[in-house]
Amino acid sequence: MRGGGGGGGRSSGFGMVVDESLSRREAERVLKRLWRMLRPWRMRIVGSSLLIVGQTACLLSGPALVQRGIDDGLRVNDGATLNRYAGAYLLVAVFALIMGRWSIRAVARIGETFLRDLRVRVFQHLVSLGMDFFEREKTGRLVARLTSDVEAMQELVQTGLTMFLQSGLVFVGALIAIFLTSWQLALCTLVVVPPVYFASRWFRRASNRAYLEVRERIGTNLATLQEGLAGVRVVQAFGRERAFTRRFHETNEAQFDANLETAKIATRYFPVVEFSGVVGIAIIIGIGGLFVDEGIIEIGAVAAFVLYLNSLFEPVQQLSQLYNVLQSAGAALHKLFGLLDTKPSIAERPGAIDLPLTGPLEVEGVSFGYGDGPDVLHGVSLTVAPGERIALVGPTGAGKSTLAKLVVRFYDPRAGAVRFAGTDLRDATIQSLRERIVVVPQEGYLFAGTIRENVRVGRAEATDAEVDAALEALGIRDRFSALPEGLETEVRERGSRLSAGERQLVSLARAALADPALLVLDEATSNLDPGTERAVERALEVLTAERTVVVVAHRLSTAARADRIAVIDRGNLEELGTHDELVRREGRYASLWASWTAAQSARAS
């Protein structure tokens, strides 16, 4: 049921906004590590920072040039000087344009290539982790690491970094400029900055909280929507349309309320900011006017202050907004680093050797438990001869699937050893292990791509002819060739077109292409459509011939066909022998068999 499209995974990133803010120490560690990771980009970072500084300097010099034009040109009736300043302004504007263009491109290249490398690196690490990790973590959360967590940095990369640098520079630059113009008036004007700063800080926190709530309610509302649509036939069959519409009304209105709350917060914040700006102008005019009167400053300074006021206000607002972006990017990086620091539980030992081509499978005194949990296998020993078929039988949760996982080294045993042809699996190279021993899971799992590509998962370097041959050998080539696009049929797009049985067939073809010495089969519990069931059985016959086979059997009919049967219960190997032997022994298998055949004949009547 998992793995349907990309949407589900990404939406789970909704939750990750800012409530997970980092402590100062964590933030420092994240930053240091980021800086180390950025080593290959450092020269480019320096270069683009220079561009940004240049561009900002040009933008800032504008008001200064206007002021000089007024004071040195207009006030003294000097047209030539005026022309010079106007010309200079035009020039810096052109410079700002050019540098702005290049800085955006340079920053984007740094950021985007960094994100690409990060994605690949994290993914590579992710797939190298052991099965224990994947059974512990939810798919959605892992997908979120590579999607929403990386995307949380995208905004920072696209506009955030530039804006951060620029806003900081503008603010500092404007500050210096007004102090140079008139420190007295500057001090007076700055009175309005603290309220803006505090209001922005309040706004940031309040709106974060509110948006978190909005996201949660959107999630709930979408879930109701989705359920109403997916279950629309049942709703109509039982005449419950109105009740469901009412139910949606509730979650929908809840979303509205949460949205309106954010509006109320904005409604409180922006008037404060705008009014502070006006107060700034009033101060510049009122007090600045007095200063002119006193001869402390000139009129041009007043004009410049009015223009600089904007340069003081916007950065404060922007920086307080950026803080959010920085926070969520930091939190995302922190999570990604956490993932990168997870050590693979199954790793290749130094000096590992290739497994021999074939030989017996020996399970010797194997005990195993998941995580810190209790043992679920207790000292199981079992030897399977080359070419032998052995079935693992037992109630759900008895440990048969666990044993199968140890045989393919999804896990390592706590005690004892699993050997193939005399070599401990822990001493083998992963590559040779995957070539010799292959597991076919219960349900045929398909990747996006064509049928041919899906078969080729079994052995990446296989040629088209080899894929064809694998399908041919299992007697299913015609079945897929008969599709309108044959083996080139995209399976995901028409995923529903391939039945469970057909998916299973693709999965078997994969195993045939891999051509392992030992095949581990996890039998499907559910039924297949009658049409393909037989094809699956025939393919299985071919696939299992002349191979060592361990099958986790859910149906006793399958077990009965094996050379030997191992009955496992509560983690112990209870019985081992051929079908006839075990039936004669009148032990656990015999009683399972008796009740199963009874049920079968009851159904047939």
Partner: protein, 593 residues
Amino acid sequence: MDRDKELRRAGWRLMASTVRPQRRWVISGVMAGAVWTTAKIAIPAFAGAAIDNGIIPGDGNVIAKYAVLILFVGVVQAAGTALRRYSAFRISYRAETDLRQRLFAHLQRLHFAFHDHAQTGQLMARANSDIQQVNQVVIMLPLTISNILILIGAVTVMLLKSVTLALLALGAMPLLAYFATRFSHQIAPVSLELQQELGDLSGVVEESIAGVRVVKGFGAERRQTRRLNIEADSVLDRALVAARMRSNFLPLVDFLPALALVAILWYGGHLVLDGELQIGDLVQFNSYILMLIWPLRIGGMLVAQSARSAAAAGRVSEILETDNAVSDPAHPKPLPRDGTGELRFEGVRFAYTSGQPVLDGFDLVVRGGEAVAIVGPTGSGKTTVARLLPRFYDVSEGRVLVDGVDVRDVGVHELRRSIGIVFEETFLFSDTVAENIAFAIPDAPMDVVRQAARLAGADEFIVELPDQYDTVIGEQGYSLSGGQRQRVAIARAVLADPRVLILDDATSSVDPTKEHEIRTALQQVMQGRTTLIIAHRAATIALADRVVLLDEGRIVAEGTHQDLLASSELYRKVLAQTATGHGAPTPMSESAP
């Protein structure tokens, strides 16, 4: 092209109809915007006047007067901005919420055929991203009107001061709107592509994790990493294209106004030198230019956005304007109160797509209380028979009668209440077990719920669940096995005590070892009801009194199970196909070849 235009026109109509109920907030938003605008324009004017009349002559009183005036106008401006923003948000959130509600209510009622063609994902996109697109224009409505006022106000004041300077200063500004429109048009498809690439990338991640057993089992880690690499490269590529577009546009936002400021300084400066303008006027001009940056920039983007939003609204409107094909008759007749549930199909013809009849002259009478199994090869139309009864679809010819009344003459609600249906694929809602069973009658007392569960053989496992009947199941809750789900569905169907029961392949997903339990349950619930059984397993067919064999849309044979086994080759073939699957009488036949 015409279709697009038509779509957008419908979109605009829908937007207008959604905003209309909120006229009051629109008016208050625009008025607040006008006040805000006036204040915003007045402040630079007062500042300019203060410089010319107060500071230059050195008149402290005048300066103080203007400073206080500016503060006062500042208060008005703050109040204006508060009301303007609140109105805008309110209008847009209200519009979004109402539109989504309308859409949901409509979708809940739309006939099956519509839902057969529409994918849930697409409908979700309509209700989610399309409505958000609409929202982006609605939220701008009051602000846009205010912005137009700002524009008119500022331009008028500038023209009054000096026509030539105004024209010179404003010359570059329309370019800002133009470039903003162009940028918005250009970047929209790229952003969409980027989103798609990101979706593909997350697809690779998702399938690698969901299929991690296969990836590890075949050592396909490198293959998947290669695929991720390709997707990550496409993301990078699109992101860089988008960055290039941003780099072409964003610096212009600073550059074009700077051109205007240069013009003001240079030309305006000379006007001052010639004594035609005052210095304060120049400061005022500068402020206006700065003030116009945002309205023009946003205006340009809005032009581009509105085309997309209108198209999105058009898509929503398409759904809203789809008529429900199955609706109540003008004068509904009641079903006879003492009806036994007699069913009659008379010369029924039906096709999902015209020209490909699924039922082609189907006749069948089911006596009240009788159980009839409908058997046939895939595509013979057996499920369709069951779907015509509760009017999930209407016949194209002939008629379907329940207790002598044409189903099209009965109120849809009443008709469906009298028919209980167990679907092939069990859909349970994310609710408690009790709520799922009491689906048809939410206020059914607990003992009725338990009775239904007992009848369906579900009570025994429900009481073993962590919270018994209060256990939350469904997609987000406790997961039940296929057989358990099916039994809950059966309980749901019988709770309302329907006179007709339809079992549409109701045992298909049941584990063969559990099948006999369900059969016993079914035998109980079928008592005293007319039952239609769609099945292909011999064991389930055996529940019926009579079997009809369907082929190519009409009945080709009927009788008891034994009769048909003896007389019909096709019947044997249909059953044989199934028998190899699960009905295998002995394990030997499975290992036969």
